[in-house]
Amino acid sequence: MRTLVKNCDGIRRRDFVRVGGLTALGLGLTDLLRLQAAAKNQSKRRQCILIWLDGGPSHLETFDPKPDTPAEVRGPFQPISTAVNGVQICELMPNTARLMNRIAIIRSVTSPLGEHNFGAHYLLTGYKPTPVVQYPSFGSVVAHMNKSDGVFPKNIAVPSFRVGGGRLSGQGFLTDSTRAFSVGGDPAKPDFRVRDLDFFPGVTDSRIDRRREFLAALDEFSRVVDNSRIASSDPQFEQAFRLVTSREAKSAFDLSQEPRDVQKRYGGRTIGQSCLLARRLIERGVPFVTVNNPGWDTHENAYTRLKEGYTGAKVPVGLIPSLDLALTALVEDLNDRGLLDETLIVVMGEFGRTPKLNTAGGRDHWPRVFSVAMAGGEVSGGQAIGTSDVVAESPKDHPITPADLAATIYTMLGIDPLHVLHTPDGRPVHLSRDGKVIRELFA
């Protein structure tokens, strides 16, 4: 039973007890009050673009180069300086280096889970997988908690949410309506469109309305018979109906509406055009967009896949240069449109890669230390948080777990990490229970 007993300074006892928990999160009471006030500030939208590097990106070849190590650790690339004194990143990311003031890197992320499904689950939900509860991912939680109206699904994945090997649905114990809507196709292709948004020949707006009505009636008849508690209309059908009857939706997914020079800035690969689409969706108020960029599981052939893209490429179009273009175009574009302050950008994969190159010219899974990058929103850019040891094997200081990342991401999105959800059988689940918010990240 909770009674509200005021302290002499007017702070409610319930808050005090909460703070006890929050101190474990690394925040003090004033932080809590400030964040609560900020969260209540509805005029500030808080949206998120998660750039998911599926497969586990090598930290040594991106944000945490180790030039002073033997060749088999160092790898084939050199570091370059960035706009931030003392911070170097991989030479394949010159644009990111230039824009470093807006970007924060965390180099001491650590996890024990080196398998794709497990690692992806941990990074995307803040919890290690357990057979007992299916935890929801960030996008699904945001979709669940965002009650605003709108045509678009609240959780969208470009092009698809097939992450970590594909066994993660992302919705956890939340309802189907929170599952990411995968737009499908390849935004980089000239004929890209989201399928089935246009009416089938013969179908009109009024017929769509009628079908919606008929379907709702059928579900209602079933519901009465079943004595069930599920909503009478299927929420996924509802979302689909809304998309289909909205001109705004069709136009949002039409990349040909973007001027050519803007398209070029993002780079012509899927990740670039996916980021461009993500920006369009953010502009239209979609709270959570995942850009899924697969291919980072470079057990072999790393040089070609990371840098060139294909053997003998004159202009490198591999994973890293493509990420470099896409990420910086996105940050600058959002900034130009005055949206960067409201849009948190998170760049990560399920783990890093082995400090020592293997015999196939690649690196294998390495969760013990890896890097994550963030920008936008409340992020204070221009810093590298935490360090890995001299060979990028373990965190040297300030180890940060995926649970900490989760608590931080939720806080940045104005969501209380200790907020409790309930599974269908009544079990209470905190959004993030054990994570500590990373204070240095906040402006």
């Binding site: 649905s169 809507f181 004595n227 079990r427």
Partner: protein, 700 residues
């Protein structure tokens, strides 16, 4: 003289019973967490100190502790100054913190004082935990466990203090270090108990409600119901009533043959007064060609039958062979032996394709263990499996068996072929997992098959029976179905054992077991929930409904609308369920989320369905083209002059397998009233569209 006696006494009192490294020191190290996966038990060790996971390899651990690091971990002249004591007691900086209390530290230093020897005085033979099956009658409550180890020298010892307790659901059951459990949530929970390499699972059941349930009047059609009802009684979960005739017919048809019942069938069945009509129905379904087609499909998914990059003949031969086995009622154990020992031309010898399902001996080992044993061996690639008994030797040993198989168009056993064991750096010795290494001259695959299918090895039978149960009831008795292990207990362990044994006794006949399940009252229970069993998704108090599989759903849409679907390269009228290759191009099947068979399709669809599918149902060709087709059933019904109510009734029977209720008839009468033929047709199309998009249709 006195001094001598005192010294003698002193040395005597410091070495009471000899401390055995394997069974006294290792348990202390394991309990302290030193050899857990997050610390020194990791594949790469930690801080230059690598122990085997949970003490699975005492010889290695002994060597590492005593001989490595120039012997500095152990100080024979000053035992308490040994690194292995100083670090975990906090005397020296230790990233892992303080792990040993005084008495544990003393055990280790005493062992060092006695010479730090490995005498292998005894070996652990068995582990008993009491109680191991508890019904907690008061709630919340505490339970105290006692753990006893039996060694090969005949000694028994209470090892509760050294055992480790892992509740699978820590929010439901909390365990302290000494085996005192505190039960916090209702339901059925498991606690895993480990001592050295042996693991036991304790089951705790807390009734879901305080009020008892009276199950005396519940239908009991066979011993499956006895077991299910016994569990419901303990849990105090009241079952829902039996489903009505129409629901029972639709469910049996779909789950045994993957097809909807025809309208005439529904009417006839509902009207029949024969009390044995359901048994007769089940028998008829089990004998039908549709049964063979559907279960070929189910096994094709399990076996991951799909074409190679440049040719389809192998997959076709494989599919045809599987179908033949099911048609001929080949006992499933014989099918397994044929698969394991197959060789030859994959284009003509179907089962040889078992060896083309994967790309290499390790993948093959994982495939064989998952499909035929229901076990995920893959964790044991890098270290001994933490939750089960499989070791790296098992994983690489099983891979070694397959290393000599040439995986091309012709499957052949080569004279050479090996995999490197990552720990030894040498060729891994072929091994039957959990059993023994194989001799040079043995036919490795035959020996594996012999072991897997011998009568007192229930592994294969259990894995298969669990899948049959899942197909019929919507959820396996063990989930996931490819993760059978002691630490992942069944919801109904006795029931699973009984069905397994019964399956073996009846010659591994799938029809026998499917009949048994189909005839149980549990199978025929309604899915409608009551207040008190609403949250149940696993104890069979009510039926679980699942979305229809992509191929079944598409076939159903074709059946209802009378408009067939064309599949690339296949004759007209081919049913999706009979397609041998999931790579046959079909946009409809892709949108409906068909399984690619890159794995055994056992996890419920993740990328399936979703808004993308709904968009396609609304605007795509799948339903729209079929309901508007001039040759389709709806158009024919309109053109032949049927009335609205006739059309409504017919399609209710076709789509939902039941007549429309009075309320529904009234509703549709209103909605379908139209000015003019054009509008009437559109309304009827919209009606049929909504039936085909409804949950009642797409679920079963």
């Amino acid at each position: 003289m006195n001094l001598f006696l005192i010294l003698a006494f002193a040395s005597l009192s410091h070495t009471p019973t000899a401390i055995d490294f394997d069974t006294d020191v290792l348990p202390v190290i394991t309990k302290a967490g030193c050899n857990a996966a997050a610390c020194h038990g990791a594949a790469a060790g930690r801080g230059g100190f690598k122990l085997s996971l949970f003490g699975g390899d005492p010889a290695h651990d002994y060597d590492e502790i005593v001989n490595r690091l120039e012997g500095r971990r152990v100080n024979l002249s000053k035992p308490t100054q040994s690194l292995i004591v100083l670090k975990p007691t906090g005397e020296l900086d230790h990233e892992g913190g303080i792990r040993l209390d005084e008495s544990d530290a003393e055990t280790i230093s005493d062992w060092i004082r006695a010479g730090a020897m490995r005498q292998q005085l005894r070996r652990l033979v068995s582990l008993d935990v009491t109680p191991n099956d508890v019904i907690v009658s008061r709630f919340p409550d505490k339970v105290e466990l006692k753990v006893e180890a039996t060694f090969n020298d005949g000694t028994r010892r209470n090892v509760t203090r050294e055992a480790i307790f892992y509740p699978t659901d820590p929010a439901a059951v909390q365990a302290d270090e000494n085996g005192k459990l505190s039960v916090r949530r209702r339901g059925r929970h498991a606690v895993v108990v480990r001592f050295l390499t042996k693991v036991r699972t304790v089951q705790l059941t807390v009734p879901l409600h305080d009020e008892l349930v009276d199950l005396s009047k519940q239908p009991r059609n066979n011993w499956i119901d006895d077991e299910i009802l016994a569990t419901l009684e303990v849990l105090r979960l009241p079952p829902s009533p039996q489903a009505d005739d129409a629901t029972g017919l639709r469910r049996a048809r779909l789950r045994l043959t993957g097809r909807l019942p025809l309208p005439g069938e529904v009417i006839q069945y509902m009207a029949a007064s024969d009390p044995k009509k359901y048994q007769k129905l089940v028998n008829q379904l089990l004998r039908s060609k549709e049964f063979t087609d559907y279960w070929t499909y189910e096994f094709a998914k399990l076996l991951r039958i799909r074409s190679q990059p440049k040719e389809q003949q192998g997959a076709l031969a494989f599919h045809q062979w599987v179908r033949q086995q099911i048609e001929n009622k080949t006992p499933l154990n014989k099918v397994a032996v044929d698969l394991l020992t197959a060789e030859g031309d994959t284009h003509t010898n179907g089962p040889a394709n078992f060896y083309r399902a994967t790309k290499g001996p390790r993948d093959q080992a994982e495939y064989v263990s998952e499909v035929l044993m229901g076990v995920r061996l893959r964790c044991a690639n890098c270290h001994n499996h933490p939750l089960d008994r499989w070791t790296q030797d098992d994983y690489h040993g099983l891979s070694a068996i397959f290393a000599r198989i040439e995986q091309g168009r012709i499957i052949r056993v080569a004279s050479r072929g090996e995999v490197t064991h990552p720990r030894t750096g040498q060729a891994a010795l072929p091994r039957i997992p959990g059993q023994r290494f194989l001799n040079q001259d043995e036919d490795a695959r035959q020996s594996l098959a012999d072991w897997l299918l011998e009568d007192d090895n229930p592994q294969f039978a259990k894995a298969m029976v669990n899948r049959l149960w899942r197909a019929m009831m919507g959820r396996g008795l063990i989930e996931p179905t490819d993760d059978l292990r002691a630490t992942n207990p069944a919801t109904h362990p006795k029931l699973l054992d009984r069905i397994t044994q019964d399956f073996v006794e009846h010659n591994y006949d799938i029809r026998h077991t499917l009949r048994l399940i189909a005839l149980s009252a549990a199978f025929k229970r309604s899915h409608v929930a009551s207040e008190r069993n609403r949250a149940d998704d696993r104890f069979c108090s009510r039926a679980i409904r699942r979305p229809l599989e992509a191929e079944v759903l598409l076939d159903a849409v074709v059946d209802v609308t009378g408009v067939s679907e064309r599949y690339d390269g296949q004759p007209v009228g081919t049913r999706a369920v009979t397609l041998f290759n999931p790579k046959i191009s079909s946009q409809s099947l892709d949108v409906l989320g068909r399984c690619s068979r890159e794995d055994s399709c056992e996890s419920s669809g993740t990328s399936a369905g979703g808004i993308t599918q709904k968009l396609h149902l609304i605007n795509g060709a799948l339903i729209n083209a079929k309901i508007t087709a001039k040759s389709g059933r709806l158009r024919n019904a309109i053109d032949s002059g049927k009335s609205n109510s006739q059309i409504v009734n017919e399609f209710y029977l076709r789509v939902l397998g039941r007549p429309a209720t009075h309320k529904e008839q009234t509703y549709w009468k209103q909605q379908l009233a139209a000015d003019g033929a054009g509008e009437r047709r559109e309304r009827l199309e919209d009606f049929l569209w909504s039936l085909l998009s409804s949950r009642e249709f797409s679920m079963n």
